[in-house]
Symmetry: C3
Subunit: 267 residues, 3 copies
């Protein structure tokens, strides 16, 4: 894994353009800014192309999914493809809300997503696998998570980040498992959306190797969460969120060298 | 009061569907998640019925009140009635903004609200009482708060939670007064909206006794606020908000047994 | 500088009506509330006049800039002028997004802005000056910041607050430079928007002297940020945000007397 990408990101300070959902948008913007990227958010389709032209990567979150937002997501995805910017998507609740299960696969035929980031249930739903889901959470179903992630990546010709107690990153063949993390990341509602946008930030500075970008985003987020959870004894989810932003700003390559826990399965 | 509902809630992890206002939505989602419920938020009317089908309770916040949102609120309220899900409403600023004073009573004829949660001014305005209000705050007018809460509950055939220095819960006859709380709950803008959504979470697991659900939601929120305010010396509203989420996650039945301060007036 | 305005603000508890962007709206509301003002936010044009009638100042943020919001901004600006309420605008990204560069100057012909608050790039763009900008940040271009601020204030017949490492306040002639602040204010995404709304709160209680209102808003925000950054050793941007809200609530005239660092250049 190329730990040096963390320093590269901070040096480049890439502009990451987001369609964010209104639940977590503040966290997403602050997470990007804390890490060392420049967030920009849009709600108006008429300014999309102007924003694409000043950005280095695009993150599309399907968490608030009005018809206007779906149209906006489609246009931004297409323009990002046209301008050769990496595109990260976060298919929120595709596994649990029937409406999204109908719309999202259609939407993904209109542009190419370079990285798909979701929980096990969401990735399984996109891949066409059965998986028990509940609400917006990933569910407790059974199945081979690695195989599901790989096949979904193959289906969409992209990199998949499957979040969970162990995070799985795959380009359809090679697989990385990241063990860093903390259960408070699941309690804090914005963690997944933050990881999606951070994946776009790494993609901006590693556009030739999106698998490495996805590896690093997942590791940096997981280890930042782990360090945040240890910042105070008996920490709760509110203080954790503040500490998570602190750690995203403070984490260094040396922390990765010292504390990263991951496995890479060669193809 | 049935303190055991707190453990029941955490065991059931109910899905609470929200129409939230954009000011406080992040707090509301994180408050539900911290307490042990599963939040889901919607902005698209076309996915409402699919979301109702995976939810156990509905919370409708009138804080951001576009015409699209009003239509969405109406549909979600009607579907929740049809699917027999408990409905909590939060009539933000009905007391101070003439437009809302016109629209909200009409809206409440379109579906049945099981619990109405507001400050004194808002409850008074719905009940048809005079009460001095200022901005979105509850105002300093005079009047018998208990009588106003009771008559408003009778008018709408529902449970009323009237927030204030002392919180009042009534089903139109029986009255509970909760004394736990802290003035920082008023400074933090999302506290009331959080209580409304937490009321829906308790309603989800106590749908046969919504008065008990409302009692417990108010007590848990008030005591969590009290414990949060004591978490640090000289605490301010920003640190308080983080600690409030911590306490919502950490509060136990034993804390209620030890520190709950409330009066129940038998009918 | 009239430090006493801080106590006046807390005594008056002015209602500040905002069109806020969805990225930072929660911070803006909590910042106003922490300081001692009453925030009210709107998304529905039909309730604008009713809200104007209960408010003492208006803040218009151009951060999320849908066509509906632009129409709403225009109407609220015009009504505020008609009702003689002070108007503060925040021209987010006018310097970097071509679409906004086209729309915003037209919009500012439809109503009068009393205070314009932006970073160097945004103020320069409104004034018609060349300035290098990147993303939504202020850019690193060259130029005489004081002269740009003065000429922009003259062009729009208003007070300008130009945020930066040193903040500049000018009515087109007199100039104040505020040195209090901390670099974490730039990392926290909502700081600028918060300052804009706090400027409206001070304008509400100093409507006869908006230059003094702008001075005090900038100083109070800068010193609160400085005190927040010193609240903990090795503080990061997440904990800083919580502490910033704490300090906005806790800052006193005596803190200003003791720690304010500013220069006033007589005309």
């Amino acid at each position: 894994m190329d730990f040096q990408l963390l320093d590269n990101l901070r040096q480049a300070n890439p502009v990451v353009l987001n369609i964010s959902n209104f639940v977590t948008v503040q966290d997403v913007a602050n997470g990007l800014s804390a890490l060392g990227a420049s967030p920009i958010m849009s709600e108006e389709i008429a300014e999309t192309e102007d924003m694409i032209q000043i950005s280095q990567a695009v993150q599309l979150n399907f968490g608030a999914f009005t018809k206007e937002q779906v149209a906006h997501i489609q246009k931004m995805g297409q323009l990002a493809n046209q301008y050769h910017l990496p595109v990260v998507i976060d298919p929120v609740a595709v596994s649990s809300v029937a409406y999204r299960h109908r719309i999202i696969p259609q939407l993904l035929q209109e542009f190419h997503a370079d990285i798909i980031r979701g929980n096990t249930g969401e990735i399984a739903a996109l891949g066409g696998f059965e998986w028990q889901a509940k609400g917006i959470d990933s569910g407790e179903g059974q199945g081979n998570r690695v195989a599901i992630a790989q096949k979904t990546a193959q289906k969409y010709h992209c990199v998949v980040i499957m979040s969970g107690a162990i995070d799985i990153i795959t380009d359809g063949k090679a697989v990385t498992k990241v063990h860093n993390g903390n259960s408070l990341l699941q309690v804090h509602v914005g963690s997944g959306d933050m990881l999606s946008s951070i994946s776009a930030a790494f993609a901006a500075i590693s556009s030739q190797n999106l698998y490495e970008a996805a590896q690093m985003a997942t590791l940096v987020m997981g280890l930042s969460g782990e360090l945040a959870a240890n910042a105070q004894p008996n920490i709760g989810p509110g203080t954790f969120t503040a500490c998570l932003l602190d750690k995203l700003a403070q984490i260094q390559v040396s922390d990765l060298t010292q504390s990263a826990k991951f496995e890479i399965e060669a193809v």
